[in-house]
Symmetry: D2
Subunit: 256 residues, 4 copies
């Protein structure tokens, strides 16, 4: 389980959301309150759109709370569209390549959750990644595999549908093996303009996911950044929040 944050809005320093709020993402790396574990100290990452079409990435294996480079970068880098993620490993190694977000060309994705029984269908699941994308894979996490699967499912044409197929595929692979451990997942995907945030679980316990639109800025985040809950809306389970830049366009059910 992990905690993450997606931002779209006016250009701000990353530290405005990573460090400054009461319950900032870096604070959540030590004191998450809505996750199974309080500590998300198995690496972290930020990905931001800035001077290039492709996003910049900074991923590190240390805990976010004690990385001096992150403090420097977050106080220097401005962006109007960025992701940040603090990781709690469910077993795979702590390496930079296993830290989120992942990027491919101008796309970027990150994930939180667990894929029940993943070790039993790691290879069949990877078979849904095209050869082109398979060679770009840098790490070994289920998260990165899910990200690359989306391209095969039409991410570039119909992102919501690609996400839907990804969920169906995982659950079919689980069902074929009579796996009863759940598939719980939040995921954020962007092409730099459009943002897609999934909240889902195969059981009743979808990981928490909130969004807030305020003064032209959109934040989607695992846990509210403020102690009071005002202005924070839950993304319903098994729904995808769709935004164009900072504007929430719709919140679509996974069911058709």
């Amino acid at each position: 389980m992990c905690r993450w944050l997606a931002y779209s809005g006016q250009e701000i320093f990353l530290e405005e959301l990573l460090f400054k709020p009461q319950h900032s993402l870096v604070e959540q790396s030590q004191h998450a309150v809505e996750a199974k574990v309080a500590t998300n100290g198995d690496g972290f990452g930020v990905g931001w759109y800035g001077q290039r079409e492709e996003p910049g990435l900074y991923r590190e294996t240390m805990p976010a709370w004690n990385d001096c480079n992150l403090q420097h970068l977050a106080s220097q880098i401005r962006s109007s569209h960025f992701f940040a993620h603090v990781r709690a490993s469910t077993g795979t190694a702590t390496s930079r390549a296993n830290c989120h977000p992942f990027s491919y060309k101008h796309w970027m994705g990150m994930h939180n959750g667990q894929v029940g029984g993943y070790e039993q269908f790691r290879r069949p699941l990877e078979a849904f990644i095209t050869d082109e994308h398979y060679t770009k894979r840098m790490g070994t996490t289920d998260s990165e595999a899910l990200f690359y699967m989306l391209f095969n499912f039409g991410l570039e044409e119909n992102p919501v549908n690609a996400i839907r197929k990804m969920v169906e595929t995982v659950e079919t692979l689980q069902a074929e093996r009579n796996i009863t451990e759940p598939f719980r997942c939040t995921m954020a995907i962007t092409d730099g303009d459009r943002l897609y945030c999934l909240r889902h679980s195969s059981d009743r316990f979808a990981p928490s996911l909130y969004w807030r639109y305020k003064d032209g800025d959109l934040v989607v985040v695992s846990e509210p950044l403020t102690d009071d809950q005002e202005g924070w809306n839950k993304v319903p389970a098994s729904h995808v929040l769709v935004a164009h830049n900072s504007n929430v366009k719709e919140i679509v059910s996974l069911k058709v």
Copy 2:
């Protein structure tokens, strides 16, 4: 604040105390219960006496709980006398040289606590380190400075007295500057045979420290390794536990 463990007894694999107990030291790195913070994820270290007169050291900046090397080493290295430490930084950088234990020749030390107002008297305190030891200093923590001061105070001749002088010196430096933040400290020092474990605070809140002697083995540790408290004795505040190998010889008051 940090958590630590000192062992003396029959030769065992390090993992017997680092990983296997319910509330093992590695478990304490994520879920400390008697410390100001639950997470001790700013590096860790082990130091053990084995094949050489000087101890071996393995110190790393990652959290202990996700270091695969530590798992390997703890399952391969056997020792009858070792230290282990998980760190929660109070401000200094996370580097290997700032991780405990520290060693000098056949001596080894580790520390937990806070030196109130340290930044105000860092240099006067360092002036109590001899030139010979000053050049051996690798890091920048207060902990390492306290360790090297001990040699100037006669550690090799009378360790309890050296510890006493160290405490007096810190508190004098604080008093001279009207510093009211406390000096809270637990510390373990060994020459490979003899073990000295200090528990002290200038106020009423000395950090927790326990010891257990069982079947010929001595463990001194920040928090009991088992959920039930049976067999665990508190070291009284402002006292030094003195052991020769696994035998507790005395528990001496700092006051003369």
Copy 3:
């Protein structure tokens, strides 16, 4: 390209071969003379048989020459059978999981070389790894894939034959794709007693590999550990050196 060393003989401290010789393996990490690159600074690893049936591993992403932990461990750990490896990445990420040696149960392997056109047949090559072994794979290198393929090819029954099939398989995969970049490779495999060291290339430029038997101790190494070449024998190209503990039993041609 990388440099490696395999030892079998009397129990010695690892530092006897890693640090002390004129042209020790750690020296080779900065100043290799028979490799395409002088610097092998993209991580390193040691694996040793000691107190357990399974080997211990210490792998790190820093260069071997400046890792203070390695110095400590090499001066404390004794073994009669160990591997060591310094890495020069040919493209995959620098992570611990991508450092050699790799281990599976009581088996251990390490590799040096290049698999020409690997990215074009990464997935078909991985298809030769059984499901059981596939889930144990921790990293993303070609080296680790080659190691796990061996089990499918009968490593546990007939290691030389498994190595032969591995070479044939890679070269078949290359030929099917008209890949002209060579497959150059040295590889060491052991079960803790028996040692198999391959030197091979699909062209005339097999990476260097030497062995020396002296006073009951066997060393197989990418480059001689001493400046003079006395006592060092080249492993012929496309041959496998087979030893039982420190005794060289045969040097077998890959051709049947």
Copy 4:
């Protein structure tokens, strides 16, 4: 010994100088040609002026050539005034705090060279650092001590004079102890606008230092970035190059 680069001119992506030239600074991290050692793999750092009065810093213990974060940052961060440094340790630990550049408020400095006999006068030299600056010191290198000494010597009022006093002080400390090992040094200091680059040695072997002014851009660098030497000027030994933004104002002798 290390290699470094200082840039002032039009705003460019850091990668334009760090990665793209034939003999870029990252190339110099593996293949320096005018240094005592070819490999500068003991950490690196970049410091740049951008969105804030204080510079941003990114310092890492891995070799520059295999740090994927550096590639990302250098392709995203633009600056008109920046420093970069690749480190070859002369003994002190590889930690981020020991990597250059160092910063204090809006000042930044970096260093290459050796302070002969430093261990014999580490503390007397540190006595030249004011208390205010001493508490800001994060690492343990001679380089960082030299940087902080400058403030005591009037860096903010007369930088050239402060540099002169620093050199005199080191050489006096050496002379008092009859140290014959040389003080060899290049150093770059900036407040974000003005740039001061020292090249000096107490013997005849000052480390190499070059500057090039071309099309409004100034580069000062340990080794030319291009294979041909055209346009590259040597900074004379025992001189300080003084620039205001990209304009070289004077090249001043240390002798008065």
